[in-house]
C-alpha cells in the first residue's frame, strides 16, 4: 500500500532526490516506477533530469586542470630540502 501511495503521489522534491541518487546508485523498483510515473506529467522534473547530466558532464570537464609544472618543481624542491 505504501509503495502504491508513493508511486501515485510523488512530489517534485522527492522525484528530484531520487534522480540525484540515481546518478550514484541503482534505484529500487518502487523508486524507478514512481519516478517514471511522475516524469510522464512533470515537465519541470524532466528538465531537471537532463540538467543533472549537463552538470555531471561539466564536472568531468573541470578535471582537465593540471598542476602547473613550475608549481610542481617548486614543491619537489621544497620536499627535497625538508628531507635533507
Amino acid at each position: 500500500m505504501n509503495a502504491v501511495w508513493k508511486i501515485l503521489t510523488l512530489p517534485c522534491e522527492e522525484a528530484s532526490r531520487i534522480m540525484s541518487d540515481g546518478m550514484d546508485r541503482a534505484l529500487t523498483n518502487v523508486e524507478r516506477i514512481a519516478l517514471r510515473a511522475h516524469l510522464i506529467s512533470c515537465r519541470s522534473c524532466k528538465r531537471f533530469r537532463k540538467q543533472l547530466f549537463v552538470i555531471e558532464a561539466a564536472a568531468k570537464a573541470a578535471a582537465d586542470e593540471k598542476m602547473p609544472e613550475d608549481s610542481r618543481e617548486r614543491i619537489r624542491a621544497n620536499i627535497d630540502d625538508e628531507r635533507s
Binding site: 528530484s16 522534473c45 528538465r47 543533472l52 561539466a58 568531468k60 586542470e65 598542476m67 625538508e82 628531507r83
Partner: protein, 179 residues
C-alpha cells in the same frame, strides 16, 4: 608504507591541486596548501599506517589546510536557507528549458561560470561534489575522506546539484530561458 612524498606529489598532485584551486581560486594559495599538505604528511607519516588510501589520507590533511586558509580570509560559506521547494514539495522556481546545453560544455566561458558556481557552494557540499563528480572518486572513498555516512553523502550531492543547477540557470542559461 614507503614514505615517499615525491611519489605522492607525482601520483596525487593534480587531484590535490584541483581540489585546492577550486576552493581557494588562487594558484599561489593552491600551490602553498598542496606543499603544506605534503610536508605535513611527511612529518606525520607514522600516523598513517595504511589505514586508508594514501589519497584519502592526503585529502584529509588538505581539507584542514584549506579550512584554515578560508577562515583566515573570512570566506566560509554557509548553506543557503533559500527554499528550492514549497511546502507541498513542488519546485518554488520551476527549472527552465536550457537551450542546447551540450554545445556549451566545451566553451571556456561556460567552464568558468561552472567553476564560479562550484566556488559558491557551502564547504561541505563543495567537498562532496568535487571529490565525487570532478575527481570521480569511489563513493565509499569519499565517505571515508569526509568522514560521513553514505546517506549523508547522497544528501550533500543532491543539495549541491540543486544549487549548481540554479546558479547555472541564473548565470549562464539566463533569465531568458523558456518556462
Amino acid at each position: 608504507m614507503t614514505c615517499d612524498p615525491a611519489k605522492w606529489l607525482e601520483e596525487h598532485g593534480d587531484v590535490l591541486y584541483r581540489f585546492a584551486l577550486s576552493r581557494l581560486r588562487d594558484r599561489t594559495l593552491a600551490e602553498d596548501v598542496v606543499q603544506e599538505t605534503l610536508l605535513g604528511a611527511l612529518k606525520n607519516a607514522k600516523d598513517f599506517e595504511g589505514r586508508a588510501e594514501v589519497r584519502t589520507w592526503l585529502i584529509g590533511i588538505l581539507r584542514n589546510k584549506i579550512a584554515d586558509q578560508l577562515r583566515r580570509t573570512g570566506r566560509i560559506r554557509e548553506d543557503s536557507t533559500e527554499r528550492i521547494f514549497d511546502d507541498r514539495g513542488a519546485w518554488a522556481a520551476a527549472p527552465g528549458d536550457w537551450h542546447d546545453p551540450e554545445s556549451q560544455l566545451s566553451s571556456k566561458e561556460f567552464q568558468q561560470t561552472f567553476s564560479d558556481c562550484m566556488e559558491k557552494l557551502p564547504e561541505p557540499l563543495a567537498e562532496a561534489f568535487i571529490l565525487r563528480e570532478v575527481e570521480e572518486t569511489d563513493y565509499e572513498e569519499v565517505c571515508d575522506a569526509l568522514e560521513i555516512s553514505a546517506t549523508n553523502l547522497s544528501t550533500r550531492l543532491y543539495r549541491a546539484r540543486l544549487l549548481l543547477r540554479k546558479c547555472l540557470e541564473q548565470n549562464w542559461f539566463g533569465e531568458g530561458v523558456k518556462r
